[in-house]
Symmetry: C2
Subunit: 314 residues, 2 copies
């Protein structure tokens, strides 16, 4: 298929899972486990995945690993229209290279962090960074999603920058993943940028964000509870149906006492019966035995309904 | 020369310049300008350079650019024994690859950040990261300098981690660049790790750190005032000679009102008469005209003695 002719840009909307990255015994990304996991969560009802974002330990992978991981998913017949590739790197040449690869692979979009080593970067610097990415990729098929997660990146993406990008790159700038976990901030984005797809990273905010015109969520909990997130989205605007929101809130409240990704992976290992899932790459480390036990007990106590059929071996 | 036999590991000590990285008109690292600059500051008396650290915008360069930049300096006859390569990346596979390249190039050492995207990383994670680098490089010629700059990396390197590395990798762990800019912290390192070479990044702390047993400085001001830093080091333990310290303090105090690297580069452009030096790569941006004028006036008012002969065209 001629990619340049196909232009299969798909609307990114709904429940997108920020997928976990499994590692094999040698500490390398495990492509077959990853593809199996992605197939399961898609079958359970999520609309698509964000690949190698924060939840996927994307910044702990090399550029080559990130490129090869996307290629492996595509080779395993995961549709690129169901993949948003997280392509931000500390350096712009590498962000451009990965983003171009995602566009040429027909991914639904590229989720891009600002360069995140330097702090106290001003609006001109953040705008110039994104402008350089768009210009460097130089492909009208690019659908750019800005990745706002200042508590990790150290670099906030201001409304001024978003507005300049929306004006400078109409059609290219497609949306924002707001992972600040601050509903007021999300609501301000929603009221100011009605033409953009605004996603929340913090699952409990999904119903409120949808009510205010949000596009959905790109989130980590969908790795573990894809059906719960699906229902939360589908019923968000309905009267009643608050049990699912309480489940999500309770689960996230329990989660906040543990290192996030270690807790996700410990639970994923438990749900799948595949202990290899518990492995993280440094600088992140797995929960120790005691923390793991406490966390699994907290999950059980949270009232969340385990979805072993979605996660477990088929 | 057989690198494996040569083992020319040199003591890193004294005044090492964290060199600025010049960019050409296309925004790419300018190898010939860089080599010219390095030759000048070495001729002016600095003992060596740290390549592509924070001052060198190293995190804004791709892995390939960092590797090619080192190769270009070596091809321009800069001695590897006078180069400490900053090789830390967000991801460990890339840190390992760059560090291995530096070791095989006979660099005096590798200055390595911890992985810096994830925050609230614990000691086990920081230790595991460095252990993976040393084990991954797998070369006894590695001389590892830990790069402690928590205000940018977001990941402090604790004394516990340093001690575990010193025990686990004796001879490999060679020192710490302490860029926390906190003299108490530097003094604690010096009293606890007498076998390690401890460098300060904050120039005004150099005399006090030397008095407490420090190895020297790896710093940015040596780009602009190599002779001043040379004197500050050479006379640090002498009675009197406080004028140079006051000059450095005044200069650094003036600097703190401006974006650091933009101010360095504006001054470098002014001293060399080469306006191309003023260019930074996003996310960093050059001073605007007004800020540039104010900064150069502040430099003049600081009483620092301009070293045009070190910086200017030969």
């Amino acid at each position: 298929m001629d990619a340049a002719l196909a232009n299969p840009v798909r609307l990114v909307q709904g429940v997108w899972c920020a997928v976990l990255t499994p590692f094999d015994a040698a500490g390398l990304p495990d492509h077959s486990r990853l593809a199996l996991h992605v197939r399961r969560i898609l079958a359970a009802g999520v609309d698509g995945i964000a690949l190698f974002g924060t939840t996927g330990e994307g910044q702990s992978l090399s550029l080559n690993e990130r490129r090869a991981g996307l290629d492996a998913l595509l080779a395993a017949d995961i549709a690129p229209s169901q993949i948003v590739a997280a392509t931000g790197c500390a350096s712009l040449p590498e962000t451009i290279e990965l983003t171009r690869h995602a566009v040429r692979s027909n991914c639904a979009g590229a989720l891009v962090l600002p360069p995140f080593f330097f702090k106290t970067v001003n609006d001109d610097g953040v705008f110039a960074s994104y402008a350089r990415v768009v210009d460097g990729v130089g492909d009208p098929r690019l659908r750019l999603y800005l990745y706002h997660i200042p508590q990790l990146s150290g670099v906030a993406i201001s409304s001024t920058v978003i507005e300049r990008l929306a004006i400078g790159y109409p059609g290219i700038l497609a949306g924002v993943k707001d992972s600040e976990c601050n509903l007021d901030h999300t609501r301000r984005l929603l009221s100011r940028f009605r033409e953009l797809a605004i996603f929340v990273g913090y699952e409990p905010h999904l119903p409120a964000a949808l009510a205010a015109g949000g596009a959905g969520t790109i989130c980590g909990v969908a790795n573990l509870f894809p059906r719960l997130l699906r229902r939360l989205y589908d019923n968000a605007l309905a009267v009643g149906h608050h049990d699912d929101l309480r489940r999500v809130e309770n689960f996230v409240a329990a989660l906040e006492h543990y290192p996030l990704l270690a807790a996700f992976k410990a639970l994923q290992a438990d749900l799948t019966g595949d202990s290899g899932w518990a492995t993280l790459r440094p600088p992140l480390v797995a929960l120790d035995t005691e923390a793991r036990r406490a966390w699994l007990a907290d999950v059980a106590a949270s009232g969340v309904v385990v979805e072993r059929d979605a996660a477990g071996p088929h």
